[in-house]
Symmetry: C2
Subunit: 217 residues, 2 copies
DNA sequence: GTCTGTGAAGCTCTTCACAGCG
DNA sequence: CGCTGTGAAGAGCTTCACAGAC
């Protein structure tokens, strides 16, 4: 999928773990830990030491054989890889309960994602300012977006006309989409889509519980 | 992982697609479609026909060689597998913005998941009734839960003391957890855990955009 | 001809196990 | 001794391609 300068490949599964590594490493850094061994870090994040070493080796080697991994250096590298070393403007579509929750969530800002602009179709919300962000009408998407230039958009709106919104976002330069709406959409060429389907998660758990097998860990 | 009566295995990846299949099939059923071919359904859900056939074959055969798959029969089977043919009580921990969004989300009830009881620690919220559900103080978890007997809990609260909440939920009979809190928890034996980390999703997209490669679809 | 179900191949990700270093 | 980085093996998932049914 994605490859690094050194010619090695970073698998999609590895990428999904990178965020977790960075998060734990930041906690360690705050505690004053400067170096850590793979088996220690692996235990903290919940993966095997072998997998952790393989993951980290896929984008460079930080391991000192006697001291373990350099915590700070890894945070820097991970942040650069994950694009959280700069502030990225994000557009939020839909200002219902979920939109409000997303806007209120501090985790985004901490990691460099700044929700810069909001869209909705409800006249109750359009024109208002939520936590410092103005809410525009969805129909003005094309004229408003250039002022904020978000590369990522979060969809937390109703299901109807969703694909059309995606297409319009794509034409306005949005390259990544997080979709909370339980409706299948097709990303435009070059766009990256990530679905978050909470019902699907519930059903997955429900299936696993019903299938019993008594594992789960 | 989980195996079916007929001895075949249903992979975890297949399970994650089952919800999507069912959802699309229900839409088709509402439109009056009684049978559908794998390539048609595959296109609607966004997988390859081969994968769809393999998935469906893993828990029984519904395909009629000339007519395709029986829509209604598949919905029934999928619902039984996913445990959405009966109503399942769910506990919600945390009544902030996210908790409110989850409570307001109609998709759960439609699929048989009923948020039956809410917990929080905020005295502003404890004792109040939200959308028909009483909010109890978290300290009363053990005395309140038996009245509702949820098998699944949704965590949408603060990070501190989270593991302790998980342990207590486990002791009170909760078997599955959906965790929205960006904090690593360890499920108790026999418990199944599903994390929903929105920041991680953002970072994944951010990585893929930065890694460029111009794919994404 | 078109369809499903499936063996077999291909691909990806994880784990093992050890060389090399300190 | 214990550590990292990695070839090689293993496990799991997807795709190919076709037999068999209509």
């Amino acid at each position: 999928m994605a490859s690094q300068k050194n010619g090695k490949k970073i698998s999609i599964q590895t990428v999904e773990r990178l965020s977790i590594y960075r998060k734990i490493l930041e906690e360690l850094h705050d505690e004053g830990v400067t170096h850590i061994y793979s088996h220690q870090l692996a235990k903290l994040v919940g993966v095997t030491p072998a997998q952790l070493r393989r993951d980290l080796a896929s984008f460079g080697s930080f391991g000192n054989i006697s001291k373990g991994y350099n915590v700070y250096q890894m945070i820097l590298t991970l942040s650069r890889l994950l694009g959280t070393d700069t502030i990225q403007p994000v557009a939020l579509v839909g200002m219902g309960n979920l939109g409000r929750a997303i806007l209120a969530y501090r985790g985004f800002e901490e990691r460099g994602f700044h929700i810069a602009v909001i869209f909705d179709v409800d006249s109750e919300k359009v024109g208002r300012v939520f936590a410092g962000r103005r809410c525009f009408h969805l129909k003005d998407l094309e004229t408003v977006l250039p002022d904020y230039q978000p590369t990522i958009a979060i969809l937390a709106c109703g299901a109807q006309g969703l694909q059309n919104i995606v297409d319009r976002l794509g034409k306005s330069g949005v390259r990544g989409i997080i979709n909370f709406v339980p409706k299948k959409i097709t990303p435009v060429r070059g766009m990256y889509l990530e679905d978050v389907d909470i019902s699907a998660k519930m059903e997955k758990i429900s299936f696993l519980l019903r299938a019993k097998s008594g594992e789960g860990n």
